[in-house]
């Protein structure tokens, strides 16, 4: 059981990381320019 939970958690980490990476690479570069996005912060 514990091994299954461990596998699930690691799989979840991988899936979430892939989703995050896809969102980042799908976004226009201007959104990743922190100075432009957060000017006046």
């Amino acid at each position: 059981m514990k091994a299954m939970i461990d596998r699930f958690i690691y799989a979840l980490v991988v899936v979430l990381a892939l989703v995050a990476l896809w969102l980042v690479f799908n976004a226009p570069a201007t959104f990743l320019n922190a100075r432009a996005v957060y000017q006046g912060f």
């Binding site: 958690i9 980490v13 990381a17 201007t30 959104f31 432009a36 996005v37 000017q39």
Partner: protein, 368 residues
């Protein structure tokens, strides 16, 4: 041997939880955990656009607006707003209210968000805008501020999934700022103080005095940096008159020529929602063709698409054939009208505005 990324499953679970919270933050925050909409404007300050002026006009002023020029930089540099206001006042026999709401970075999406805020707070009779066409399909860097998922994700329905993900990602990026604005409000940038970025960079008198417009007293800049040449005051003497301004009509003959390439999905989508917004608020919509330097030899008024299909109803499309507008000017004189390849300076603005104003007044008055 490589060190494992996590020293225990608990640590991996904590990381997964953190990732989930970050990725779901726009959904978790909903509308309840978003600061008031005005915080978007106060968070931006003077740098990405003259937002303190726009804030003042949307959230502090309350009277009705006769004509609002709204859009990105070519509106910002192209319209002598006080001139239009004076002409409309004379025509109506009462003080008219004409304002410009303009910023840096084109896109029908930003146009939608600012128009929505404007129409939520002030009655506007006529909106004048232009083709928000970002070069290379670029996006406005401030989208993480403008798009807030909790305010209605239904806005995105109909967009391709990949496009929806771009806006969702923008909402994630904007979330730390929104949460900060929720716990403390932004300080208001002074409306009139030392010259702000726009006045300094473009050598303009106060944006407030010009009712939202930049009146750049600078010469042509060849590299889009800060290397402007000296300003040469110049009033072109050409045969063009206001009668050369054309209002598109499917029945009449005119010089408009429409492209057939489909607009990118997000641009068509947001142009459509702007049209709906204007219709539900009873605004007339006028799309103005503002020429750039490269248009000068064109005999026709070129538009990217057939706009009347996207903006049905109370919609007018106006422009001056560039070859008439700039006819007889030498290359040197032409450059005296612009600060760069896409934007008028004071000379260009003062030359262009009186030519299109009678058509605008005709539309304003003629079709109530």
């Amino acid at each position: 041997m490589m060190r494992p990324a996590f020293s225990s499953t608990k640590q991996a679970a904590a990381f997964a939880f953190l990732m989930l919270v970050v990725l779901l933050s726009p959904v978790l925050a909903g509308k309840k955990f978003l600061p008031p909409r005005e915080e978007v404007y106060t968070s931006l300050g003077w740098n990405g656009g003259p937002y303190p002026w726009i804030y003042n006009q949307i959230f502090e002023e309350t009277n009705d607006i006769d004509i609002a020029f709204i859009g990105s930089s070519r509106i910002l540099h192209g319209i002598d707003t006080p001139y239009v206001q004076a002409k409309l006042s004379a025509e109506l026999g009462r003080p008219a209210v004409v304002r410009t709401f303009a910023w840096g970075g084109p896109g029908f999406d930003v146009l939608y968000f600012i128009t929505r805020d404007l129409l939520a707070h002030r009655k506007v009779r006529m909106l004048v805008f232009y083709d928000e066409n970002p070069a290379g399909n670029a996006r406005n860097a401030q989208m993480p501020a403008w798009f807030r998922f909790g305010e209605g994700s239904g806005l995105l329905s109909g967009l391709p999934c990949r496009e929806q993900c771009i806006f969702y990602f923008a909402a994630i990026i904007g979330m730390p700022r929104n949460l900060l604005d929720l716990v403390r409000t932004n300080l208001l940038a002074p409306l009139i103080s030392d010259p702000n970025y726009w006045e300094q960079h473009y050598g303009s008198a106060s944006i407030v005095k010009f009712l939202g417009t930049i009146c750049a007293e600078l010469g042509f800049n060849h590299d889009l940096g800060v290397h402007f040449t000296d300003f040469t005051p110049f009033s072109p003497r050409t045969p063009v008159t206001p009668a050369d301004t054309e209002i598109y009509s499917p029945a009449g003959s005119n010089d408009f020529e429409f492209g057939t390439e489909p607009l990118p999905a997000w641009q068509a989508h947001f142009a459509g929602v702007v049209a709906n917004l204007a219709r539900t608020n009873g605004c007339k919509m006028v799309m103005l063709n503002i020429p750039v330097l490269a248009d000068a030899p064109e005999m026709v008024i070129r538009e990217r698409t057939f706009w009347p299909r996207i903006f049905p109803g109370d919609f007018w499309l106006i422009g001056v054939p560039p070859a008439k507008l700039f006819g007889g000017l030498t290359d040197q004189e032409l450059h005296w009208l612009f600060i760069n390849s896409g934007h008028f300076n004071k000379n260009g603005m003062k030359y262009f505005t009186p030519l299109i104003t009678p058509a605008l007044l005709q539309i304003y008055e003629g079709h109530d």
